[in-house]
């Protein structure tokens, strides 16, 4: 273990550990403000610089939240499994943090670094990403089970069912990009989209992006898929019994997971760090990457303010009867289109393939939508009239 290696690791990983948690603070402020505006409220507007009357649109709110969380009493229920209760927030945070290093962020200072640290740009980065984000489910279950509270346990059970179901369309829609690029390496995928040939701009890429984004919402427990923490049904779901710093860790883990999965979506479909001015100033690529992540987070917040929560049967039917067949069909279409493009077909044929695939995807989506909608039977009351 040489000092150079330690230095290199510090240079490449510490920025991740600084940038994303500070973005987390900023995002909570954006979310509060945006949700407030959507609901015709004002949102935080008093907290600003301490001991002055400067409020800065409530930008001091994240700091105030953080201080409040730290000073809150840490309460553990009497019957709880103390070890698992303590471990769950940590297990929730670590995988979320870990996958950040698979994102192809080209930090301007990374060029001072020797080769070994590029180990993070593993050959199988995309597979590792999915493998490690899957660990989040365990943390959610751990929290729900260790609290020894029926609401917590129900939240944990819902979380497992939901995450297992939505992981399949998530991975299958990412498969398209891996197939078209021919590499699992995040840097290769980013390089393959140079020159604004983003995968978003093809019919199959667009469909895959939409499926990916919806499944990502479900994976990160964002509304309208926030059944594991449904406030009106389960108090707070799996973290009902958490308070103080442990609650803050859960919160942080959830947002970091949102950043990570949005980062993967940006890498796979939105051309990673590409944008105007990157050719002249390479350092801008990090800024573009983060700006695109924020655009996706903004959509997530918007959806949270707009859509009501799904029912459990709707949730399952949507994953298994709508997203899954559509993503499998999409893989076939993408493979076909790839072969047409590779066989050196002319522009006319390519245009035909484009339009045909657009029409097919749209028609199949409409048809599946009609078939897969669970019919709501009239409610039967067992214990009431």
């Amino acid at each position: 273990m040489s000092w150079e290696l330690i230095r290199d690791i510090l240079i490449t990983t510490v920025p991740l550990l600084v940038i994303f948690p500070s973005l987390f603070a900023f995002t909570t402020w954006i979310e509060r403000k945006a949700l407030a505006r959507i609901q015709n409220r004002i949102g935080p507007n008093k907290t600003g610089v301490p001991c002055t009357r400067i409020s800065l649109f409530g930008l001091g709110q994240p700091a105030a939240d953080g201080i409040k969380m730290l000073f809150k009493e840490d309460i553990v229920p009497k019957g709880a499994d103390r070890l698992f209760h303590l471990l769950a927030p940590i297990v929730a945070l670590i995988p979320a943090m870990l996958v950040l290093c698979f994102l192809p962020l080209e930090f301007p200072w990374a060029k001072f670094v020797q080769a070994p640290v590029q180990a993070f740009l593993l050959d199988g980065a995309v597979i590792f990403f999915f493998a490690i984000t899957g660990l989040n489910t365990l943390a959610v279950f751990m929290a729900g089970w260790a609290s020894r509270n029926k609401y917590s346990l129900l939240g944990g059970m819902r979380a497992i069912a939901q995450m297992v179901s939505y992981e399949i369309p998530l991975v299958l829609s990412a498969v398209i990009v891996v197939m078209l690029v021919g590499s699992l390496n995040a840097a290769d995928i980013a390089a393959a989209q140079k020159g604004y040939q983003w995968h978003l701009f093809t019919p199959w890429g667009l469909a895959a992006f939409v499926i990916f984004f919806i499944a990502a919402l479900a994976e990160t427990n964002r509304s309208p898929f926030d059944l594991p923490e449904a406030e009106s049904e389960l108090i707070a779901g799996y973290f009902t019994e958490y308070s103080g710093f442990k609650f803050a860790l859960f919160f942080l883990g959830e947002y970091i997971a949102m950043f990570a999965i949005s980062g993967l979506a940006v890498t796979l479909f939105l051309g990673a760090g590409e944008g105007p001015g990157v050719a002249a100033v390479p350092a801008l690529s990090v800024a573009w990457f983060i700006a695109k992540i924020f655009a996706l987070i903004g959509i997530m917040i918007w959806l949270r303010g707009t859509l009501p929560r799904l029912r459990v049967d709707q949730l399952m039917a949507f994953a298994w009867k709508f997203l899954l067949p559509l993503s499998i069909l999409n893989i076939l279409i993408a493979g076909f289109a790839w072969h047409v493009a590779k066989s050196g077909a002319g522009t006319g044929l390519k245009a035909v393939v484009w339009i045909a695939s657009l029409i097919t995807l749209y028609a199949v989506a409409r048809g599946l939508n009609r078939i897969s909608r669970p019919e709501a039977a009239p409610r039967e009351y067992k214990y009431a009239e």
Partner: protein
Amino acid sequence: MTQETAFYLLAIIAVLAAVTAVRLRNLIHGVFALVIFFAALAGLFLLLMAQFIAAVQVLVYIGAVGILLLFAIMLTERVTGDDGRRITSRGGFWGATAALGVAVFVLLPGIQQTDLNRLPAELAEANATAADANATMAPPHTVEALGKRLIEPYIITLEVVALLLTAALIGAVAVSQGARRVEDEEEASP
């Protein structure tokens, strides 16, 4: 040096976690001990430069098998985990003897026959001669090499496995549907 330390650390964690998984009476704790064991195994695969296998170890064993075990436990009445009952097992002595016998008479001779106990220099020499014989037999470390192996020489095996898994999937659906139909009929008949 660091690699050796890492190996011994991971190996100790793996063995301890495996023993804990068997010994613990709380089922959920047992599953999590098993998950730690799987994670340590993934670390060992990474040490062997087998990236893809490590990723699949995490994906399949922790992400799927571990979660399925939790799912199965949740469907039983032991969700809470507190259970006074314990299985009284005798014959631990005979089991240990059998395990020791297998280790000494089967595993150790098997390991002796591999290249593991040869000196590195000797091994390099042997590899050099072998490399002359067939230069294509490079160890498939990378995902790409593994993928090519799977698609090119072993494509039929892969397809057969895929077919088998699909059959199992359809079978599972058929079995569960059949059970539900029987239930419905039973409910309808009286």
